[in-house]
């Protein structure tokens, strides 16, 4: 079952100018439920742009984005925010968390937005933080956590809303290799045990090695799309 489909996606910056930038150039891509996909490519190849459009953060110049069978191209701004809240989990490169909230409150926050009852919220936030190995740091604020721990909280938060898939733009870019490996371990585990779909961009070859599917972008086009066996 496809959780995400994009058809003939184009994003052109500076369309009117003499030097338009085709950040995403006629991309077709289907992501099945439970896939663990890395989007790779050189800097400026359009990874962030593609992820932003797939996450409903940015509007494509042309093409369609279908998430959970719903075409999001026609959603208005407020509908789109609500759609993201219920269907997509986000992990950004850094500074993902609300600095004034504790780890647990950060995870609960999306469920507050979803109007989940408090009891359920607390249970789920605690369970998710346990899964990412932060059961003893629940009441720490982001500033008291390491970069790797912060990214693990961000993953727990992304999962809290029970999204169709998690989008992560270079989640390990600011981490040392040990933390990066640890983060990948957690993503793998969640992928295996919870069948959570992950789509993430990366530069890091050690991270690429661990993706089951690797989509390579060059100049906004898909240059290759391979599946590989990983341990």
């Amino acid at each position: 079952m496809a959780v995400l489909e994009v058809f003939d996606l184009v994003k052109t910056y500076n369309e009117e100018s003499n030097y338009p930038v085709h950040a995403v150039n006629h991309v077709d891509l289907t992501i099945e439920k439970g896939e663990f996909t890395a989007i790779v490519g050189p800097s400026g190849s359009g990874k962030t742009t593609l992820l932003n459009i797939m996450g409903g953060l940015d509007q494509p110049t042309q093409g369609k984005v279908i998430i959970d069978g719903k075409d999001i191209s026609f959603l208005g701004e407020n509908k789109l925010i609500d759609f993201r809240l219920h269907h997509i989990g986000f992990v950004f490169q850094s500074y993902n968390l609300i600095p004034v909230l504790t780890a647990k409150e950060n995870v609960s926050f999306v469920m507050v937005l979803q109007k989940t009852p408090k009891k359920e919220r607390d249970l789920r936030a605690e369970a998710l933080l346990k899964e990412v190995g932060l059961e003893d740091r629940m009441d720490s604020r982001p500033a008291q956590l390491s970069g790797g721990q912060q990214q693990r909280v961000a993953i727990a938060r992304a999962l809290a809303s029970k999204p169709a898939f998690v989008l992560a733009d270079e989640p390990t870019a600011n981490l040392d290799s040990k933390s990066a490996t640890n983060l990948l371990d957690i993503m793998h585990k969640l992928n295996r045990e919870e069948h959570m779909t992950f789509i993430f961009s990366t530069h890091d070859s050690r991270v690429i090695e661990r993706a089951r599917r690797v989509v390579t972008l060059v100049d906004g086009k898909i240059a290759s799309d391979v599946r590989q066996d990983v341990s």
């Binding site: 940015d58 407020n78 950004f92 500074y95 993902n96 609300i98 004034v100 909230l101 926050f109 999306v110």
Partner: protein, 405 residues
């Protein structure tokens, strides 16, 4: 959750928030203090005029004031005065005979407003004895005593114990005159009325005017402290339907203006102060929003809707303004309580004030409902200053915001 985030956000930049809070507190305090000062001065002025001159309520024959003819006297007024003195809430009442005439010394003459009083009653209402600077306030015994002001004495070139002559018209229109001995010289803060008013006993004046026993022109009523004016006023109206009963607001519209214009000035003055504070708040909150662009972008990306973002920034601003405002209110409350008891001595600058008939000790004061009104003004200012920063946050584009670190 929103409230909690907003609250904690305030304390992220403790120094900045404290600076803003202090400036709001001080601004509100300074504003309220100025107001209480001028309100204190106003009510002092009004009270002084009420106690020293016009009293709370006056009763006349309905036509007396327009015609100023001595025929329009209150019949059996002394009985009326006695009844009023017995009334609830009344501190004192004084009956007066009033006419105008000429006062002349061997060397000069001047127009005069002649007030015939019952010395004890008048003393209780206007405390006229306090103003006597030479001689005595109607010493016992002798007939035809007169109390004139220092200013008039100088004008007439007369001294204590000299004799002067009052020339006036009696009820039948005949000119009569009486010789009076100056037994006292007074001086009040109001130099314009001083020059005109001379006081004699009504028992000496009435026969000269040919008035009947017990007839008076004016009854001045002074109320006890903190007694509401309205009930006594309406009681008098219903007890003496044939008389014209007026309270100080009608008797002295200029005093009423002092009170009314204060209210107006209060709004204008507070608005100016709050406007200045509003710009400070907007500036700080705008800074707070702009340095959190990335974070706000993340919030919108993960599904916080625009209304919530807007509300969060509004809440932060309102918290700051309301806390600062409340601190300012509390601070000013205690300042006013303290200085309202001790008073502020303005004697160094008082020359000017005294000629306006004002006291040199000012007791700052403010009414409870004025505190409330000011609080509401602060709250409205807080809401207004919150709108722009919150609107700015609303206009953020999450994609661009997230790309910004």
């Amino acid at each position: 959750m929103l409230a909690r985030i907003a609250w904690r956000n305030i304390w992220r930049n403790r120094v900045r928030s404290l600076i803003l809070l202090s400036s709001i507190t001080l601004g509100v305090w300074a504003g309220i203090f100025m107001l209480s000062f001028s309100w204190g001065m106003s009510i002092q002025y009004v009270n002084m005029a009420i106690k020293g001159q016009i009293s709370h309520i006056q009763l006349h024959h309905p036509e007396f004031k327009a015609e100023k003819k001595i025929d329009f006297a209150i019949p059996q007024a002394s009985v009326v005065v006695d009844r009023i003195i017995e009334m609830e809430g009344v501190q004192a009442a004084s009956g007066r005979t009033i006419t105008s005439g000429m006062i002349s010394s061997p060397v000069a003459g001047a127009p005069a407003s002649i007030l015939g009083v019952n010395p004890e009653q008048e003393l209780a209402v206007t405390m006229m004895n306090d103003n006597v600077v030479e001689g005595d306030y109607f010493p016992a015994g002798r007939k035809n005593q007169i109390l004139i002001s220092e200013k008039l004495a100088n004008k007439l070139k007369v001294k204590l114990n000299h004799k002067i002559v009052l020339t006036l018209q009696d009820v039948d229109g005949n000119i009569t005159a009486g010789a009076f001995r100056i037994t006292g010289i007074y001086k009040t803060r109001n130099s314009t009325t001083d020059e005109l008013n001379v006081f004699v006993k009504s028992s000496d004046l009435s026969p000269l005017l040919g008035l009947n026993e017990g007839e008076l022109h004016e009854i001045a009523v002074l109320l006890k402290e903190h007694v509401e004016l309205a009930p006594v006023y309406y009681q008098l109206k219903s007890d003496f339907p044939t008389l014209l009963v007026e309270d100080w607001r009608t008797l002295a519209p200029e005093l009423r203006l002092v009170v009314d214009s204060f209210k107006q000035n209060m709004y204008i003055f507070m608005s100016i102060i709050l406007l200045a504070l509003t710009f400070g708040i907007i500036n700080t909150m705008l800074m707070a929003v702009l340095e959190r662009v990335h974070e706000l972008g993340v919030l919108m990306a993960i599904g916080m809707n625009k209304l919530s973002v807007f509300l969060m920034i509004m809440l932060e601003t309102v918290y700051l303004a309301v806390i600062g405002g409340i601190c300012g209110l509390i601070l000013s409350y205690f300042t006013i309580q303290l200085l309202g008891k001790t008073g502020i001595d303005l004697s160094a600058f008082s020359r000017g004030l005294e000629s306006y008939g004002m006291n040199t000790l000012v007791y700052p004061a403010l009414q409870n409902n004025q505190y409330l009104e000011i609080f509401i003004m602060i709250f409205v200012a807080a809401l207004l200053s919150a709108i722009y920063p919150a609107y700015k946050a609303l206009k953020l584009n999450p994609v661009q915001a997230i790309r910004k670190i």
